[in-house]
Amino acid sequence: MVNTRTAAWGLRRLATVGLAGAVALSMAACAQSQRGNTDGGAGGKVGGTLTFGSEGAPKLFDPFYATDGPTFRIAHQMFEGLTGFKPGTAEIAPALAEKWEHTPDGRTWTFQLRKGVRFHDGTEFDADAVCRNFKRMSGQTGAGQSSAVSQYWVDNFGGFADGAKPSLFRSCTPKDKNTAVIELTRSTSKFPGLLGLKPFVMQSPTALEKYDANNVRAQGDSFSFPEYALQHPTGTGAFKFGKYDKANNTIELVRFDDYWGGKTKLDKLVYKIIPDETARKQELQSGAIDGYDYPAPADWAQLEKDGFQVLKRPAFNIMYLGFTQKNNDKLRDLKVRQAIAHAVNREQLVKTQLPDRAQVASQFFPDAVDGYNKDLKAIPHDPEKARQLLAEAGATGLAVNFYWPSEVTRPYMPNPKDIFGAIKADLEKVGLKVNAVTKPWNGGYLEDVDQAKADLFLLGWTGDQNTPDNFIGTFFGDPTNRFHTGSASWGQQLSGELKAADEEPDAAKRTRMYQDLNKKLINEYLPAVPLSHSPPAVVFRKDVKGFTASPLTSTGESFAPVSKG
């Protein structure tokens, strides 16, 4: 349907298209298929490939600079630390170090290293490698010292080799080929579990050097990371880095055949980044992926009905209702905080809004963590008591501004809006005037909460490792925390007690100290109301076998023993 002129016009267009085509074809010459260059052979349909849906893109592949789940999830398959965790639990277990011992003051640690371990690039793993790793981590300079870049180091070890800030780490010396000695500046409960955290895993010193691993630069609003972190992560793990196809949001890991832990079953492990919750589920249902992390609790039943395995991890997190001691002086009155604790109907909340197997929290960390106090009972739901307490405190009809975050879901807080709604209703029942404030998670919520603008707020935490300090230490250790315990009469005391417990070298004694501390936190301080522990889940197709769910979530779950079909 064209007449001469439109034809001419059409022709002109056709010509251009044709030209493009010609160019394309000429390119085709140099556009040979690059398939089969990676192990595992052409196409993804080989039996040995497992595709896993990840909720986000990894920030990079060098875990030392990472803080985000997606990076750690992938790093866990490629890297190992000196210590690790017993599969399915949070208990510390041997990994690259077969055993270790420490001096009574808890400052000198001697690690016996596993023999015959090689990095993906063939470099041998030995005491020297260990110390070069610590040298690298503690020796960060410039942008590398930014808490946004080396956050885990800053949070756990403090300063760096330049001594500008005190550091937990003093030195590392290779005693012999398979013995490394690490000295600390003080004793801490975090050690040696700390060494099982992804940021502190062992990386190939050769590769680190070769690919300029420490070359991090602040670039405008962000940081730019070196080649190593983007393309050449090299560890000792069961899988080695394949490629990151950014255009298609997929990351491919390939089996490492010289793995010390024996033959890995899968040829290939593919991570597909699917930020959208519903999309992940549909990809699984349509068979495009074999499993994904953090299925929405609302979907568990459905997924199980559809014949998928929903593996629920032991809860290793906490959701709490936070107070700030700073602005609203009524909130500095313990009675008022207790009243609020009594007002919230946590059983109802857990039953209606939280995932299967979620529990009401009696303290600020789950029972999987040492120092959990079994005798401590959750503050009961008792509106009557609450009203009475408010009356005693002369705070009847107290007005509070109560923050909740939009545009976000967290493993411990699957649906903030509805959780908030429930709690708000409870508080109003006991006569509090609730002024609801909501802001996007990254769009002002965290900011305001950290700057103590919120009287009440919803927040939580997912543990990195099995130590109370990782929970309550992180929350209340520093008096200028977001609860501003510093502005309370007992704030300094609490910080002191936390420090003491953390530095106690004797495990048994330490545990007791923490148990007492938990009791005091609830009965005497109550800087926040622990609400619940929610087990996050991971879901797989029926034919995926050998996967053990861990309370540490993806950072405790290895795909080495996993097989498909």
Binding site: N3, T6, A247, I289, P440, N442
Partner: protein, 336 residues
């Protein structure tokens, strides 16, 4: 014509400059920011202060803008903080632009392929069942929120029937070779037919969702234009010459009716991006739209700045192309 084109391009520069300023200011005026996104629950007041300083966000805004502009002129738009942390914004744009283009092209092609013929037939059989159906249908098409339609399509064809993939651009682990970044094209170039087919399959549903509104519009414009042309005197003249119906339809009716249609197609193509944001979000399709939504959620300044500026540029350029193509088919514009 050339002078006109140059003038338009010059205006474009101005637009981009002003826009970049607005975006820059706007983003920083928003509460929160990359600091929150980067620190998450670990944030404390001083950690924030420290990081803010490191990112240079504590400096006065015009200083920040000056630096941004300086870097931008040297082709450096900063690195992503949230969408694909660490990657340069440019890199991300280059990855995602082809995706959105691929999607938009398929969508607009669908819209044109169905819109013009149906619109023409509807006009020929004015008041016939096809006409009424088409008109009401196009109205409904406009009344259905894009994202909801996207949901419906996905729910029906991907989830329930499982005919088509539910999300993404290509099945993972397919190990397709990348050449141009246009997956379908790549598949053809590298003769990885399965990859091409797979990529195409991923396009169908989002394209359908995206195509509805352009289709509705093109249908109606075509219909209206043809109706207008049919009672033009020159059509009667053509009849009086005893020309065959096919010649009259092609040469005298369609040819003239195409003028407004072409404009419309152009405008719709430009406007597609808006729909793309929603559609790509629903289908987790890694294109500009998704990057915009994600970047906004994670306050990824560099990415947002570049994406929005580029989006505007593309939009302006598309319109320019439309005006030029208009001149190609309409002698009255060309020879004035």
């Amino acid at each position: 014509m050339l002078r006109y084109t140059l003038r338009r391009l010059l205006q474009l520069v101005g637009v981009v400059l002003v826009l970049s300023m607005l975006i820059f200011g706007w983003l920083r005026a928003l509460p929160g920011g990359p600091v929150s996104a980067l620190l998450g629950e670990r944030g404390t007041e001083e950690a924030r202060r420290e990081l803010t300083a490191q990112l240079g966000l504590d400096q006065p805004i015009f200083v920040q803008y000056g630096k941004f502009l300086g870097r931008a002129l040297s082709g450096d738009f900063g690195a992503s903080t949230g969408v694909q942390p660490g990657d340069s914004a440019i890199e991300i744009f280059l990855q995602r632009f082809p995706a959105t283009v691929e999607l938009s092209v398929v969508a607009i092609v669908l819209a044109v392929l169905f819109g013009i013929p149906l619109g023409y037939l509807a006009a020929r059989r004015r008041g016939g069942w096809l006409d009424n159906l088409g008109v009401v249908g196009s109205l409904v098409g406009v009344a259905v929120p894009v994202f909801f339609l996207a949901f419906l399509l996905k729910y029906l064809f991907a989830v329930q029937l499982g005919w088509l993939p539910a999300s993404g651009r290509q099945t993972g682990g397919l190990d397709a070779t990348r050449v141009t970044g246009f997956f379908v094209l790549d598949g053809l170039l590298t003769r990885e037919w399965d990859a091409a087919a797979d990529a195409l399959a991923h396009l169908v549903l989002p394209a359908m969702a995206l195509a509805t509104i352009p289709f509705a519009v093109i249908f109606r414009i075509t219909r209206a234009a043809v109706l207008d042309v049919l009672d033009e005197d020159y059509v009667r003249t053509a009849e009086s010459k005893g020309l065959t119906t096919s010649v009259i339809r092609r040469r005298h009716v369609l040819r003239n009716a195409m003028l407004p249609v072409v404009t419309t197609i152009g405008l719709q193509t430009g406007a597609l991006l808006a729909g793309a944001v929603l559609t790509e979000k629903v289908f987790a399709f890694p294109g500009l739209g998704e990057a915009l939504a994600l970047g906004f959620e994670r306050r990824d300044y560099p990415v947002l700045q570049l994406m929005i500026i580029m989006a505007a540029m593309v939009y302006v350029l598309v319109n320019l192309v439309v005006d030029l193509s208009y001149a190609v088919i309409d002698p009255r514009v060309r020879t004035r």
